[in-house]
Structure formats: C-alpha cells, structure tokens
Amino acid sequence: MICLLAYGAEGFFVIFLMSDKIQSKIIDAEGLNRTIARLALEIVERNRGAENLVVLGVRTRGVPIAKRIIAQIKQIENKELPLGILDVTMYRDDVFKKIKQPVVQPTEIDFEIHGKVVILVDDVLYTGRTVRAALDAVIDFGRPSKIQLAVLVDRGHRELPIRADYVGETIATEMDDEVLVNFKEVDGRDGVFLVKQLKEI
C-alpha cells in the first residue's frame, strides 16, 4: 500500500493507493538452505562424487546459489569446486527487445572447461531463453563432456525444449507473476517470493 501526502488549495489530503501486487513467501530462509543442500546432494549423487565437476553461476542470482552449492559439496565430499560466473546478456535473443537495456557484465571463467562436467546454476527456470543463451556462452569457452542444469525454482511456461536436471522447487505460476529469489548477500534477506498481479474480478 502506498500513502501519499498531497497539499492542495483546501489543505492537506492523504491519498491511499492500493498496490496492485501481492507478495507471498514460498520458501523461507531455512527452507532455502535445505533446498540448496538437497540440490548439492543430488549433484554429487548423480555424478558419483565431485570429480571433474565445475560450477558456473548465471548472473545475477545464479551466482550466490552456485556459491552455496559449492560450500555444501565441500562439506559432503571435502572438495572445493571451481566457480565461474557467466553473463549471458551478449547471447540473448531479446537484447534489443527490452525497453530497458540490460547492462553487460563480464564473464569470469578462469579455468579450463574442456572435458569437464559443467553444473550450470540459475535461480528461476521460466521461458528457457536464458538457459539457451547460457549454453551458447558455455560452448564458446570449450567443449565440456556434459552440461547439467540446476535451478532453485522451476515456474513453468517454457518457450524452448529445455528442462533442468536438478530442481529445488516447482511452482505453478501465471505468466504475469514474478518470482523473486532473494539472498542475504545481495538483497539483505533469504527467501523465495511469488508476486501476483491483482486483477479485477
């Protein structure tokens, strides 16, 4: 709810505007930790250990998830996996479609990915276009033996034939909903939130 104070000829007016969005929590802080711990376990289980794995986080929210997955895997396997950061802006097919221009940021991969198993990490899997762009970006850096996709939230509405190998939570959403993934280190709070547009009934 937004409260505005206006000053007009007749004096002060207080105007209340009902916000047209409502936000609900889907995963809380503890839930987030548990979900990421499970993703880490699944990754290690499927790959029979942590040998030959490298982790690439997709900017922006994929990076904190990737860091936490690496920390979890270190606890389980006592092995610190290398972290790379992928910015896919340059590979997007909708770079010029958006009114607001995405800011290009550097990709940071300072290790060889040739022959490795790449765990690609992103926060929300939606249309699949980001993942498509990320796959193109990864392949420009070398030829990994496998690429596996880990996402915190799968919200459906795919526009491309893409699926995740590891999914934290699957939620049913509408196209105009927003899924917010928040991290202490970036946003000051941990949790996943669903923002629904209020519609007239």
Binding site: D87, F96, K100, Q101, V104, D136, D140, G142
Partner: protein, 316 residues
C-alpha cells in the same frame, strides 16, 4: 543508468555517468577479446557501413574488428575506391546507403560536422570516427578507459595534451571527456598550434614542455601532422622535436613517473623519441586493445535504442 542516445558525434555534452556507463560496458566486452573464441552473437542481423573519406588504419581496423567480434554484418568503403571520386555528394552517398536498409553508419570525414549532417539525412545511428578538426569521440573514450584502468579514477588526474591542439580532433574529444570525468587538463604546444579560443576550456596552457612535464601525471602526445609543415606552423620537424619532443632525458628531469599516451600513428623522432614510445612509461598498445572494446560498447549501446524500435515494428 540508461543510455538513450542514438548517435555518438562528440564527447562534448556527455555526462560523467554516461561515459562511465560506456566504459563499464567496454570492460565487459574486453573480457570477450581474451576468450578462446573472441566473438559473441550480440549484434547478429545488424548491418553497419563504415564510410572512410579520409585515410585511417587503426581506427578503421578497430571498428571493423569490433563489428566482427559482435557478429554484425559490416561493409567498409574508403574514398579512394568509392563514387566520391566520381563526384557524388555526401548527401547522395548517404541516401543511397539508407536505401540499402542500414542500421548504423561509422563515418570519418575531413569536414567538421559531416557526421552531424548525416544524422539529418538518414535514419541510421551515426558514429563519428573523426571529423575534420572537430572531435574523435571513440579515441577520447579509449584514452579515458586506458587511464581509468591504470589510475582507477580520473578525479584530479593531471593530463597534459601536447602538440597541435588547434588542428586536433583527438585533443577536443580528450578535453571534453577528461574534464567530464573530473581530470585536470592542460595544453602544451607552440603558440602557432594553440587554438585562439583555448580559454573556453579553462585549461592551463604551457608553451614550455618542461613546465608541462613538471605539472603532469599523464601526457597525451598528439601526432604532428607533417602536411601542416607547409603551412609554416613550425620551422622544421627537427626543431619541433628539440622543443616539444618527448625524450627520456626530459621525462627523467621531471623526477616522477609520467604516463604517456599517443593516438597514433607515431612519427618516431618527431613528437616522441622512438625509444620512449616503447618504454615502460608508454600505454600506447593498451590504447589500441581498449579501442576495440570501447567501440564494441558504443556499437552495442547505440544499436540498443534503434533495435528496440525496429523489433517492435516487426512484431506488432
């Protein structure tokens, strides 16, 4: 921060935020240049024409490489091989290019204001790659990027521009860009090469190179255009070198570290001693590398606005 400009004609009028945004974008593109496959699909489907009415090696190659690294389709033509020799006017050349449905034009021209003129007769985005004695904005940006890499900030950095300031478009782009970024600018050269209206920039003016070196953290050494010697602006290249040439002896006399920039091409032994151009003071080759990254950033940012319009037209 949003970058909403359609053309890049000059650095005059660009804000510190805008320049910083271009440079930040350029840093990201610089990383692409270091990859095993230094190419991204960002400008796929965009068509760019490079119109070079004046000779250029570095700037043209730099623009062409930037375009190829971004997967744009580009065509270059130089005055020597074009219809300009057959007497075609700039307006007609431009209108013909327009008819071929081009997204962007990069132009170098001997007449100041030619790129501005083009913006009035074609719909494409225009990038000034140097016009007469006006500006050379991408050169100014790459100089600033190179300095920012070394010094982190340009705030209060003392930069002396040395040489033929009056006829130099590089000098003008440097002055506006550097001042916007908070640097202090001084000009140094013989009185015949100092613009009559130099006070407008509120830059310190030195006629003695040693004074300028004692003041500066950075010197940006302009190329002496040898063709100007006929105009009698200086008696001989030897005399110019003696009075205004950057030499190791003079830099050491200043008793501090001085960074040297040069926009190229270098006249070795005229404005700068050959050995100094390759010395530890020189950032000349960093400038060339950064030139490609800066041009990638400019191409990307300018095509954004227009790209959005075009995309919407075709989908709606």
């Amino acid at each position: 921060m949003e970058f909403n400009r359609k053309h890049l004609l000059e650095l005059k009028g660009l804000t510190r935020e805008e320049i910083t945004f271009i440079l930040d974008t350029a840093e990201s593109f610089k990383e692409v240049l270091k990859r095993p496959i230094p190419k991204v699909p960002t400008l796929r489907g965009k068509t760019i024409v490079n119109l070079f009415f004046e000779p250029s090696t570095r700037t043209r190659i730099s623009f062409e490489l930037a375009q190829k690294r971004l997967s744009a389709d580009s065509v270059s033509f130089t005055a020597a091989t074009s219809s300009v020799l057959k007497g075609e006017t700039l307006r007609d050349t431009a209108r013909n290019i327009e008819a071929m449905n081009i997204d962007m034009v990069v132009i170098r021209h001997g007449a100041s204001g030619a790129p501005h003129f083009l913006t009035q007769c074609v719909k494409a985005s225009i990038i000034n790659a140097g016009d007469g004695q006006h500006e050379h904005p991408t050169q100014g940006l790459l100089d600033i990027m190179t300095l920012r890499e070394k010094f982190k900030t340009l705030e209060k950095l003392k930069v002396a521009i040395i040489g033929d300031v009056a006829h130099s478009r590089v000098a003008r782009s440097n002055i506006y860009g550097l001042q916007a970024m908070g640097a202090e600018v001084a000009l140094c050269g013989p009185p015949t090469m100092m613009p009559l209206d130099a006070e407008q920039w509120q830059a310190e003016i030195f006629y003695n190179l040693d004074d300028a070196l004692a003041w500066a953290d950075v010197v940006n050494v302009l190329r002496i255009q040898l063709e100007r010697q006929q105009k009698g602006l200086f008696p001989s290249t030897r005399e110019y070198h003696k009075l205004y040439g950057i030499t190791r002896a003079r830099v050491e006399k200043a008793k501090k570290e001085i960074t040297i920039l040069h926009p190229g091409p270098i006249n070795r032994g005229v404005e700068i001693e050959s050995e100094m151009a390759d010395s530890e003071f020189s950032l000349i080759l960093d400038q060339v590398t950064n030139g490609v990254a800066v041009r990638m950033a400019v191409l990307y940012l300018l095509s954004g606005g227009r790209g959005a319009e075009r995309f919407d037209e075709s989908t709606n």
